[in-house]
Point group: C2
C-alpha cells in the first residue's frame, strides 16, 4: 500500500474517554508513525485535549459529533437514535472507504449492532463473531466468539472455526493452527447437541486435519490448541474468568512479596523476573478484540482500559488493516470445502 493507513476512532467510547483515547493515540504514534486517524467526538471535550497533546493532534483529523452512545443503551435504540453519534460516524467512515478500520471502547452490543448494519456481514458468513487472543503456556491462543452471539447453532460454530483458523494463521503467523471446540469433556459423547454436531461437521471439512476435537476450560491456558471455538455466552464468561483469575493471582503475588522483610528482600532480588511475569499477564497487552465476519475491520477495546491498553487495541486494528484480514477470510470461505452434506444429528446422551 502506498497510501497511509487510516483508522477511524470513536473518541467518546470507554469509561475514561475521551482522555484515555487521545493519550492512547499519542502513545500509538511512537510505534506506528505511518498511521493517521479520523477522530469522532464532542469538540468541547476533545478539542482541549488535542491542544494539550500535539503528538495526537498531528496524526489526527478531528470531526465534531453531537451525540455519544451510552454504556447502558440497548443495541436497537443505539442503532435507531444514534445516527449522529461518534460511534456510528466512525463506523460510517469505514463503510464510506475513508478509513481502513474503526476502533471503539464503547458499548459492545451497540457497536456490534451498528457495525453489522453499516458494514454488512461478509456474504459467505451468517454471523460475525468477536475474536481476541489470550496468553497460554504455549503462546497466544485465539478465542471466539467472545460475546457477539449469545446463542449459536452448529453452523455458526463451524464458521467461527474457519474464521479463527485464518486469524491464527494471518495474525499470529502460525502455519497450521489447531482448532478445538470448548466443551464439558474431551470425549465425543459429551456436551450439548450443538457442539457435537459442529465437531462432526468439522471432521468432514477442509479443517479435518487440524481439528483437534473437544477441549475443556483448563485447556485454554494450557495452549492445547491454537484456536478455541465456542458460543458467545460461554466465550464471554471464559475470557472474563481468565482475566479475573489473572487479577486474583497478581494480587496474591503482591501480598506475598509484602508479607515479611524476607519476602520484600526476595522481591528486590527477583524484581526483573517478577516484572517480566507481571507484564506477560498484563491484560492491557491483550486488549483489542476484533469483530470478524464483517465487510471492514472493527476493533473493540475494553471499556475500562487506560491509554496503554487503548494503544494496544489500536495496534490490533492497524495489524488487521495492514494484513487485509477480511479479504483473506472472504477468500478462505469461498474456497472452503464443507464436503457437501451435513452429517446426521448427533445422538443425545
Amino acid at each position: 500500500m502506498s497510501e497511509r493507513l487510516t483508522i477511524a476512532v470513536d473518541a467518546m467510547g470507554g469509561d475514561h474517554a475521551p482522555d484515555m483515547v487521545i493519550r492512547g493515540l499519542a502513545l500509538a504514534r511512537e510505534r506506528y508513525p505511518h498511521v493517521r486517524y479520523i477522530l469522532f467526538g464532542d469538540e468541547a471535550r476533545v478539542g482541549p485535549l488535542l491542544e494539550r497533546m500535539p503528538q495526537a493532534a498531528e496524526v489526527s483529523e478531528f470531526r465534531h459529533t453531537p451525540d455519544a452512545i451510552s454504556n447502558d443503551a440497548k443495541p436497537s435504540i443505539a442503532l435507531r437514535s444514534g445516527r449522529q453519534s461518534s460511534m456510528r460516524l466512525a463506523i460510517n467512515a469505514v463503510a464510506d472507504g475513508e478509513a481502513g478500520g474503526v476502533i471503539s471502547a464503547g458499548n459492545t452490543g451497540a457497536y456490534m449492532a451498528t457495525a453489522k448494519f453499516a458494514l454488512k456481514t461478509l456474504s459467505t458468513i451468517d454471523r460475525p463473531a468477536i475474536v481476541a487472543t489470550t496468553p497460554s503456556r504455549r503462546g497466544d491462543v485465539v478465542m471466539l466468539d467472545l460475546g457477539a452471539n449469545i446463542e449459536c447453532d452448529a453452523e455458526n460454530l463451524v464458521q467461527f472455526a474457519v474464521m479463527g483458523e485464518v486469524f491464527a494463521r494471518i495474525v499470529l503467523g502460525i502455519q497450521k493452527p489447531t482448532v478445538g471446540i470448548l466443551n464439558v469433556g474431551a470425549e465425543d459423547l459429551k456436551g450439548v447437541d450443538t457442539v457435537r454436531l459442529a465437531a462432526s461437521m468439522l471432521r468432514q471439512s477442509a479443517l479435518a486435519a487440524t481439528f483437534h476435537g473437544f477441549v475443556e476450560g483448563n485447556d485454554i491456558t494450557a495452549g492445547r490448541v491454537d484456536v478455541v471455538v465456542t458460543d458467545g455466552f460461554t466465550g464471554n464468561v471464559a475470557i472474563k474468568t481468565i482475566e479475573g483469575a489473572g487479577q486474583f493471582m497478581s494480587g496474591l503475588l503482591r501480598d506475598m512479596f509484602g508479607s515479611s522483610w524476607r519476602s520484600r528482600l526476595g522481591y528486590l532480588l527477583a524484581r526483573p523476573a517478577v516484572e517480566y511475569l507481571r507484564q506477560s499477564l498484563d491484560p492491557r497487552r491483550y486488549n483489542g478484540a476484533m469483530l470478524v465476519g464483517l465487510n471492514g475491520v472493527a476493533v473493540k477495546s475494553h471499556g475500562g482500559t487506560d491509554e496503554i491498553g487503548f494503544a494496544h487495541a489500536l495496534g490490533v486494528a492497524i495489524d488487521m488493516v495492514g494484513n487485509d484480514i477480511n479479504k483473506k477470510i472472504r477468500e478462505e470461505f469461498e474456497n472452503f470445502d464443507f464436503k457437501g452434506e451435513k452429517p446426521p444429528p448427533a445422538v443425545a446422551l
Copy 2:
C-alpha cells in the same frame, strides 16, 4: 450423634485408583479419627493395599465388588449394566442407610445418573446439581452447577440459588451469603432469557434481599458474591478455566524464580510466602464437589487427583454428613417463599 460417622467409598474410581484412594483414607484418618469407611472394590487389587496400609484398613470394612465403571462408559449403560460395580454398591450403602454419605473419583456422568436413580432427588427439587467451592479475593466462593445439567431452565437456576445459599450458610458458615447469576454483563438486559427470568424470579423470592443480580466471569475470583449460580455447561467450563489459569500462573511463577541466580536467591528468601501462595492455590485443597439435591450425601472427587486431594474430598463428605446438609436443604425448600406466581417472561433484546 453418638454413632460413628460412616462414609461409603468407591475404591475403583479415579485415574490412580485404588492406590490413591487407600492412601487418601490413611491420610484422612489423622484428621478424622472418628470416621469409618465401607470400601467397595476389587479384592485382588485392594486387598494387598490394605495389608500394606493398616492405618487405612483399621478404619475400613472392605467389600469385594466384581465390576468397576470405566471412565468412558455412557451414564445410561453404567446404570443398566453396573449393578455389581463398586460405584453402584457404594451408593446403595447410602440408600440402605448403612453409610451417611458416599464418595467416588470415577466417571461423573455415571455417578450422577446412578446416584439420582438409587438415592432419588429431594421431593422439592427438580434436578440435582454439582456444587463446589473455589478460592477468591474474599475467601471461598460456592459455585453451581458444575456439570450435572448441561441445559437448564430458569426454575432450575432458582433452585440452584437456594441450594447454593444453604450450602454457603451451613458449610462455609457465612451468615447472609450473597447470590449472583453468571451472565455476560451486569446489566439487567444482558444475556439469554433463561438467566433473566431466573433473576426476575429471585428478585421476588425469599432470597430477594441477598440476591445481587448478574455477575461476570471476572467476578468469581474477585469474590463479588458468595454464591455463583449458572448452568452446568457454563459452570463446568468456568471452574476448569479457573483451574487452568491457576496451573498456568504457577508454571510462570516457577519459571520466574528459576530464570536467574538473582531470582533463585529471591525465591530462597521469599520461600515461606511463596509456599503459602502455592498452597492457597493448590487445586487439591479445593477437591471434592457435592451432588446437591439428592436424598443422601454424594461427593465427587476429581478423577486425576492424588491421595492429598482425595483426603480433602473425604473431608468434604464428612463435613456434609456431619452438618446434615440434605436435611437443611429440604427444610429450606419447604419453607422457601417463591411469592406465588412467576413473573412474565423477560423481554428479548
